[in-house]
């Protein structure tokens, strides 16, 4: 029995070793580097849902008059930077993928992007907003806007629509995303209102649960608006602490509010507040609505921004493959062709907005400000586009 199993495994391994030459002929292989377990399984789940839906609607692609079968390979990075690096190497060298979608979060996308770029394989991160993901990496692209854009969007919104003259910020100093975004916001707000107009810039470290001391400071400064660039799991505790210390004014958030079950954890406490994000599900029209309806019908929940951005990113990658005008079958040459085609994409009509890449591999995209309405939905408030 044991020997039999060993024999089958050996056979399978030999078959695996021999097979790459067989699949290169009429398949286009795309790799997914996403967190299916670990701290943030929701993010990986949404990515895979979107990908499976895409594959069902588009099983084949026509490139240069030849039809190719589309094949997606999902790998779990456990929400860890070191696993994300390992998986990119595996996808590129063993699975011989033409391109990579993911990783989603900046903490994994920044190190994994290095591997993709060194091994000359096109990679698009749908959700990573940190500038370092694509910086000086011609093979790495992203599907969303950047924090240096999002920070000013929030600052302008606070000034123009909320009438804020003094702002307070509370952020996690030990994590890249909140720290970068908090600094971007502060810079933009002080540019509008002069130095010192951010009257409180309070910090904490990852894992803290009690914010009462920081909030007591913040409430005393009598700021007009509180900016919280934190993840969905931390926001409920911070907002509750603010309310308990007597905060009654506006609160403004950022795109990480939308990536996960914010309303399930926060409930009524979060209603009425605004945050900037990539797209708004409530009140969408056209292709966006069609996507939302199909996704909701298939999975029984509204697609979050991760799902929508992953959908667009796959579309972008496939569009670039089509734009090459024909694949040679030599994987290295084809990867470079796809990279060049990606860089040349003009006005790709995504459901999260039209996309054209800058030379850095970042799209010029509009941000959406949503308000959490009384039904707990993220309702479209306005769209802010880069000038």
């Amino acid at each position: 029995m044991k020997r039999g199993a060993f024999f089958i495994v050996s056979l399978a391994m030999v078959a695996l070793l021999l097979s790459p030459s067989a699949w290169a002929a009429n398949e286009i292989r795309l790799g997914f580097n996403i967190p299916l377990t670990g701290d943030n399984p929701d993010v990986g789940g949404s990515s895979r849902n979107a990908a499976e839906m895409y594959l069902k609607e588009n099983p084949t692609v026509n490139v240069g008059g030849k039809s190719y079968k589309l094949k997606f390979i999902y790998e779990d990075n456990e929400y860890k930077p070191e696993s994300a690096v390992k998986i990119n190497t595996k996808l590129i060298t063993e699975e011989e993928v033409l391109g990579i979608i993911g990783p989603q979060s900046s903490s994994q996308a920044v190190p994994a992007g290095e591997v993709a770029n060194n091994m000359a394989t096109p990679m698009i991160s749908p959700w990573s907003t940190n500038p370092n993901t694509t910086l000086d990496r011609p093979y790495v692209f992203r599907g969303c806007f950047l924090d240096p854009f999002q920070g000013p969007v929030a600052a302008n919104f606070a000034t123009d629509e909320l009438g804020a003259k003094k702002a307070a910020v509370i952020y996690d100093i030990a994590a890249d995303y909140p720290k970068g975004l908090a600094e971007n916001f502060k810079e933009a707000f002080e540019k509008l209102h002069g130095a010192g107009s951010v009257v409180a810039f309070e910090s904490f470290t990852t894992g803290d649960k009690d914010f009462s001391a920081q909030m007591t400071n913040i409430v005393r400064t009598k700021a007009d608006v509180l900016f919280i660039p934190q993840y969905y799991s931390e926001v409920p505790l911070i907002i509750r602490s603010a309310k308990e210390m007597g905060w009654t004014r506006d609160i403004l958030g950022a795109d990480a509010w939308g990536g996960g079950d914010l309303m399930g954890l926060c409930g009524d406490d979060c209603k009425g507040y605004y945050f900037s994000t990539h797209y708004a599900a409530a009140g969408a029209k056209g292709a966006t609505k069609a996507f939302i309806d199909a996704y909701t019908a298939k999975y029984g929940k509204t697609p979050d921004d991760v799902a929508a951005l992953t959908w667009d990113t796959i579309g972008l990658m496939v569009q670039a493959v089509k734009d090459t005008g024909g694949l040679s079958g030599k994987i290295k040459a084809d990867r470079t062709k796809v990279k060049d085609a990606l860089a040349a994409v003009k006005d790709f009509p995504g459901i999260t907005g039209s996309m054209t890449f800058t030379p850095d591999g970042d799209p010029k995209k509009c941000a959406v400000i949503v308000q959490i309405n009384d039904a707990g939905q993220f309702a479209f408030h306005k769209s802010v586009c880069p000038k």
Partner: protein, 321 residues
């Protein structure tokens, strides 16, 4: 610095310290009778919070079908606390039976290691069964914020502090006035002699774990009311800090653990306004994220000058009041 501002921080610290005090009690009691620290105690606090979540959800579902008028929110809360304390006590007894009793004659370091392992087992089995995503603790009572002359107090805050103090007082009376309390004190004096007096060491040890775990469960539920997002690792840093409180109070001292728990809460919370005052006075730019660094440096200083803690004695581990 106005009076209001100090008062506000004082109240915040009172709530925060209640959790440390309740958890530190479990460390101190176990230490006094078995001369070891139960390093799984922080995770028992986490398990208590999750059991509370389960009990509260079940009770809410029951009430939902048979009319909400039967059980008002506060009654559900009382029931949740009582049932969860009872259930978590069994978790404590099992931990003692599985991880500590077989090692009673082994070196103390081995027992410390099994405690750490039990902690990891509790955390990972939580992830295994509940999937690792964060859960919301149901808000059983309506949160009301009172503004007393510029100082904000919520009804939950008052309740948390009162319930914690009540539990501490009850424990104090139990240890001082009951026969079992006397047996605990006797075991702390000399665990070799008590079997000669007809007291079962194993039973007293199990009872001590049960009481400590029940208090940790109460802390877990109160914590869930104040900070309603639960995660499987919530007990780790909390457990360590409560351990610091137990040491600071003097190993084996019940009153010491309570006072040191509140003291730790005060040091942690008050560090933030203190940083702000320093920043303003000397035009510095220290971030409030240095809170733990500064707070625990103060604890270190205290321990340098009082190595046996506030109420500890040099060569004695007896259970003191």
């Amino acid at each position: 610095m106005t009076f209001n501002f100090l008062m506000q921080n004082f109240i915040n610290a009172l709530q925060w310290g209640s959790f440390y005090a309740l958890i530190a009690l479990g460390y101190s009691m176990v230490y006094s009778i078995l001369m070891l620290f139960n390093f799984a105690h922080g995770d028992i606090f986490m398990v208590g919070a999750y059991i509370g979540l389960g009990v509260a959800t079940a009770l809410l579902a029951l009430v939902g079908t048979s009319g909400a008028a039967l059980l008002p929110g506060w009654l559900i809360l009382v029931l949740t606390i009582l049932i969860s304390m009872f259930l978590t006590a069994f978790v404590g007894i099992i931990v003692e039976r599985v991880a500590y009793r077989p090692l009673r004659d082994a070196p103390r370091a081995s027992a410390a290691i099994t405690g750490l392992m039990i902690g990891i087992i509790l955390e990972t089995s939580n992830i295994l069964f509940l999937g690792g995503s964060r859960l919301k603790f149901p808000q059983l009572i309506e949160s009301v914020t009172y503004n007393i002359g510029g100082v904000y107090v919520t009804n939950k805050k008052i309740m948390i502090v009162l319930v914690s103090l009540g539990l501490m007082l009850a424990l104090h009376q139990f240890v001082r006035r009951t026969k079992y309390g006397m047996a605990m004190r006797a075991m702390a004096y000399d665990y070799l002699v008590i079997p000669l007096m007809g007291v079962s060491m194993n039973r007293i040890a199990a009872m001590t774990f049960a009481i400590g775990s029940a208090l940790a469960a109460a802390a877990g539920i109160l914590f869930g009311l104040a900070y309603p997002v639960l995660d499987p690792y919530m007990g780790v840093s909390f457990g360590w800090k409560a351990f610091v409180a137990a040491i600071l109070g003097g190993r084996g001292s019940i009153m010491g653990a309570c006072i040191a728990g509140f003291m730790l809460g005060f040091i942690e919370i008050m560090t933030v306004p203190a940083i702000q005052i320093l920043n303003r006075l000397f035009a510095l730019n220290i971030g409030s994220n240095l809170r733990d660094l500064i707070a625990y440096s103060i604890v270190l200083l205290i321990l340098i000058f009082r190595p046996h803690g506030l109420f500890g004695e040099a060569y004695s581990a007896k259970l003191r009041l």
